[in-house]
């Protein structure tokens, strides 16, 4: 046991301390919290203004022109789906493998998943242009009785992302139930008591409830685990099923999945480090948790570096002039800065984590996690924008021009995500009370009693 206090010397952590430490986060907000919320809302306002302008004047406002019709929107969509990805990895896959380092971080990772999918889901709508026709994406026939094309990766994506949102949101809410019961039973104000009574569904923690709850939780984890593999594989097929040079590649699914885990773990760090500091969670989220996450980053960075190398190798070995030219353009063309930025952020800087002391150096990890997120956004930019800018014939080549509407909506998405996270940490337990308690040995009168 490596929870604080389980080492010799410190006072052991008790159930009561866990309750109080975590629920302290739900106390009335401070000025710093209001400042964070205001900053997020300002970004949302910028995004809303930009979107309104695009709706009024059309897609031209967003700098979209042939051949770059996907631009920042789909880049940012894939970025957010990727961020969402590792929440499920941490909550479901590591649950099945009984990885203990997940316990203090998984709730935050799950919240991140749900809010990142909510954010990602906005982009196909924004990118539609005429957003009021969003329901055309749903599988029902049009007025000519023509059904959507179930052979299209874009429709697979609708199914994959909606399933992912439904299952990850359910998993998240189900995980919250016992903790909300604790919040209900410790609430001092009537309003909070009523709020948590309703949201905990009247959970009492009797033996039958725990039995069925744990069985159901295991099944949710078992269902969510294949989603970790499937959702980003399906997103990668949006690209790989086409014939665009730079996209048509069989390595895309594992490459995207590894990239998603890489960026998601980095985003967990970006969120966890300030929250840990702000709410005094140092005794629950310890340096060894960061060490474990850093090791996950090294592994996934290695897989990504290999995938980047293999893309170039395949282009060279295939002897296909279009593929070769595409990858030459990525590294040495007019947008090469994004390629080299990606390489430094995703392949070179994470190698510093081989140094043990850096894996527990919190300021370093915070900076690195932000660099990784920048690198991962650039990766998607390289795949989407660079490939579309430089297809088969020079006549069709083009250049992507950012507009303030385009950038404003990307900023708005970060504000939207940040707003949900900021509200979440103030109204719901951002660290799982139940699972932290599970980490502790149950209190016994007779030392050494018990069969487990």
């Amino acid at each position: 046991m490596s929870m604080a206090g389980q080492h010799g010397g410190d006072k052991p952590v008790t159930y009561d301390e866990v309750n109080r430490t975590i629920l302290k986060m739900l106390e009335p907000p401070t000025v710093r919290w209001y400042f964070m919320l205001a900053a997020c809302l300002l970004c949302v306002a910028v995004g809303a203004l930009a979107w309104t302008r695009q709706i009024l004047n059309g897609m031209g406002e967003a700098g979209k022109s042939h051949p770059d019709m996907w631009g920042c929107y789909i880049t940012t969509f894939v970025f957010w789906v990727g961020i969402a990805h590792s929440g499920t990895l941490i909550s479901a896959v590591l649950f099945l493998f009984r990885a203990r380092f997940r316990m203090p971080i998984y709730r935050l990772a799950e919240a991140m998943t749900v809010f990142a999918v909510l954010t990602a889901g906005l982009f196909p709508l924004i990118h539609l242009g005429r957003v009021w026709f969003f329901y055309w994406l749903m599988p029902y026939p049009n007025q000519r009785a023509l059904w959507p094309n179930f052979r299209s990766p874009l429709l697979w994506d609708v199914f994959a992302v909606s399933t992912y949102l439904t299952i990850s949101a359910t998993f998240f809410v189900v995980g919250l139930i016992p903790d909300l019961a604790v919040a209900r039973d410790m609430a001092k104000s009537k309003i909070r008591q009523a709020l948590y009574s309703v949201t905990s569904l009247g959970w009492s923690g009797n033996h039958r409830q725990w039995k069925h709850y744990m069985a159901a939780y295991l099944f949710f984890a078992a269902f969510a685990t294949p989603l970790v593999v499937s959702v980003h594989s399906v997103v990668s097929w949006d690209f790989a099923m086409s014939i665009v040079p730079g996209w048509h590649s069989t390595i895309f699914p594992p490459y995207f999945v590894a990239g998603a885990i890489f960026s998601g773990v980095a985003m967990v760090m970006t969120l966890l480090i300030p929250i840990r500091k702000m709410f005094g969670l140092e005794r629950l989220v310890e340096p060894w948790h960061f060490d474990a996450m850093s090791k996950l980053i090294i592994i996934t960075s290695g897989i990504l570096t290999y995938a980047y190398g293999m893309e170039f190798y395949t282009a060279w070995f295939s002897n296909n002039p279009y593929e070769r030219d595409q990858f030459y353009f990525r590294a040495f063309g007019g947008m090469a800065v994004s390629f080299w930025g990606m390489t430094f952020c995703n392949c070179i800087f994470p190698q510093l984590l081989w140094i043990k002391s850096l894996r527990t150096n919190i300021p370093f990890l915070f900076v690195l996690s932000i660099l990784i997120n920048i690198g991962m956004w650039l990766e998607r930019f390289n795949i989407i924008v660079q490939s579309l800018s430089h297809e088969y014939i020079p006549y069709a080549w083009g250049w992507y021009n950012f507009s303030w509407v385009d950038v404003g909506i990307v900023i708005g998405s970060f504000g939207w995500f940040g707003m949900w996270m900021t509200l979440f940490v103030k109204f719901f337990p951002a660290v799982s009370i139940m699972e932290i308690k599970e980490l502790l040995p149950p209190p016994r009168r007779r030392v050494g009693a018990g069969s487990h």
């Binding site: 009561d16 959970w203 009492s204 099944f219």
Partner: protein
Amino acid sequence: MGANKAVVGVFSYLDDTLDAVKSVQSQQLDFRVYSPVPSHEIEELVVPGKSPVRFLTGLGAILGITGGFTLAIWTSLDYPLRVSAKDIVSVPGFVVIGYECTILLGGIFTLLALLHFCRLPDVLRKIGFDPRFSLDKFGVVVACDREQVEGVRDRLIQAGAEEVQIRDAL
């Protein structure tokens, strides 16, 4: 719990709780155990065996895979339109739809099973529940008749209950 009294024992220790459970089990009394965390020891003692949640999960998954493939195949046959030289019924492409629907319906049915078997929502909660049971205490609530109350209380105290309350059962 059809008896007219509920004896509530509050425990600080898991091993005391297990002793109390064994003691009331030997008297074949109706009881309920509360704990702040799931405990395999309580589960094995009180409700051994597997949860029936898995049957509804399985049913949902089967309906999902059947429904996903049926939707994709039926709609393709309803308006046959060949796209990119692919078969009208392109099974490899429909695997994704079947796969996602399996997970979707399996998850939804698991949620329904959870709510059904845990008897949720239960906003009024049951007689004998004490808010401390979700925080840091264990509880054993025994339903009994008026004349059994004293005996049950003695058993709970003997097992190590730090507090025993007598409440009216419904």
